[in-house]
Amino acid sequence: MSGKQRVNDAVVGLAVLTVTVVVIAAVLWLNQTSIGDTSDKLYARLRDVGGVGVGNEVVIRGVKSGRVDQIALGDSGWVVVRLALNDNAPIPSDPVVLFASSSLFGEWQVTVLSADGLPKDRELRDAVDAARGAGDTLPGALLPDIAQLTAVAGRIAGDVAEVADRVRIAFDDDAAREMRSTIRSLADLSDELQTTVRKQSQNLDVVGADVQRGVKDLSQAAALIDSVARRVDASTNRGEIALIVSTVQAASQELLAAAGQLRTLSVDVGRTQVQLERAVANADSVFTKMNRGDGTFGLLVNDASLYRNSDSAVVELRTLLADIRANPRRYFNLRVF
């Protein structure tokens, strides 16, 4: 073997070895494989591990405390998972293992927690209880991931869509029109009620004001009565009531006497009334005769020539009187002797 060939061999060997070591180391580091592993091992069993794979994180109280070391199918439909926990990682009392999706992007993790801290989900607790009883192997359960939740949500959405379809079928155009009409009627009724209520409210305001005023009057009356009562009480105390009573008695006696006089007066008035009726009847008879032209007054009233004669006699008398004033000697001849 020549020297050049040896150099080639060495260079190639070094290159191959270096790259191989680097690649293997990188793979081991990325896989989080620990050589000379001294971690604590925990075993859990459950029916289905979901998306959990070897290398996924194991967390205790939210702190990364290890990783999934191995997953194997077990007896009777169980899956046995080996967890490699960091040294001195604290295990909670009555531990159970939950396998769950940790994000929407496909990350899964395993949580070791106390059975008391399990979510209050009946199916989950049943699954944990069913996984108990395998010695040191911890009971485990799988929480549904987002895909399963989405599937359930999809079914719910389908049901809602079906109900919506049924409502759409039941609620046709006629129903819509009737509904609109009903709503309109309700609106009118509401307006009327509003108007009525407003009016009644105004009436009630008035009544209220009246009542308030009445109450005030009553209050004032009560105060007045109270005042009167006080005065009465005071008057009673000073003997004024007795004086009033005696005065009233005297007044009533005078009233009694006045009543007797009124009674007498009324008798006289009745008598005078009879005389008046009689006088009126006589006058009526006289007037009747006068209207008929009987007697002197009748003629005087009804005969115009008598009036004219009387009038001319008066005129002549005035003329005579005027002539007497103007020429008294013509008529009066005064002689003393």
């Binding site: 060939q5 290159a15 191959v16 790259v19 191989t20 680097v22 990325l30």
Partner: protein, 267 residues
């Protein structure tokens, strides 16, 4: 179209088909002769390390150079693509997956197809046109054992080494780019790298690159041994080797994806 023209067209079509099958047959015969020569270790073993160094070790800087810039670009491209829609650690996931499974093998393979394929084709082609191959046969050397097998084995072995180095450098450069250019922390980046990392990713890339090495070296040797004439024939052989190698790398890339990734889902 006249009857003679129709006959001529059919004859040409038949000639193409026959040439195609002849090429496949010659290639199959070439592979068979190579396999037959593998047991002749006494002939090829002394030369294997020299070819491994020339074709493999000396190609590592090229692979590293390509991976260096590919990792940087991928980190920035991943950040640009995912934006605020997904957590930033997915930059690490995208860089790791893309580098180890696709870009490191394919880009390095294409680059080495030019370097290694052309080198092999030109070297053997020159020997062929200068009748050195005939001289070897005269001296009772099996040209396949002497020329082809050590090159094919060396390149098949060294391609994964070059690609492995490119994978490591690509992820590291992607990490540095994410750290300095994209503002993704180291913890976040490697959380993303580890999130969906499986050793299958590396195995897939390395096996693929080994197949690329085999294809490139076989095509280079075949093109060299098939060289005719003088320097022009050697140049044509080198060109054919590069073109065929590049095409074969892409075909094999699709082939491995169909074989290994169909029906396989990431957990």
């Amino acid at each position: 179209m006249t009857a003679p023209a129709k006959v001529s067209l059919l004859a040409r079509l038949g000639g193409w088909v026959r040439a195609g099958f002849e090429g496949i047959g010659r290639g199959a015969r070439f592979v068979r002769e190579t396999l037959r020569a593998v047991p002749d270790t006494a002939t090829w073993w002394p030369h294997a390390s020299m070819h491994a160094r020339v074709l493999g070790v000396d190609s590592i800087p090229i692979g590293i150079f390509i991976a260096l810039f590919t990792g940087i670009v991928l980190a920035m491209l991943a950040d640009y693509s995912v934006g605020d829609l997904v957590p930033p650690y997915f930059v690490g996931t995208l860089v790791q997956k893309t580098i180890t499974m696709e870009l490191a093998p394919v880009l390095t393979g294409l680059a080495l197809a030019g370097r290694v394929g052309a080198n092999i084709a030109a070297e053997i082609g020159t020997m062929k046109v200068t009748e050195q191959v005939d001289a070897l046969e005269t001296l009772a050397y099996d040209p396949y054992a002497y020329l082809v097998v050590p090159r094919v084995l060396a390149v098949t072995l060294m391609f994964p080494v070059v690609v492995g180095a490119a994978m490591v450098v690509g992820v590291i450069s992607g990490w540095l780019a994410a750290l300095w250019l994209v503002d993704v922390s180291t913890v976040q980046f490697f959380k993303g790298v580890r999130l969906f990392f499986t050793e299958f990713d590396v195995r897939y890339g390395l096996v693929k690159s080994a197949s690329f090495g085999t294809a490139v070296s076989l095509i280079g040797c075949y093109a060299g041994l098939d060289a005719r004439g003088g320097a022009q024939g050697v140049g044509g052989a080198a060109t054919r080797a590069v073109v065929l190698s590049a095409v074969m790398i892409l075909v094999l890339d699709a082939f491995w994806a169909l074989v290994w990734l169909t029906g396989r889902t990431l957990q």
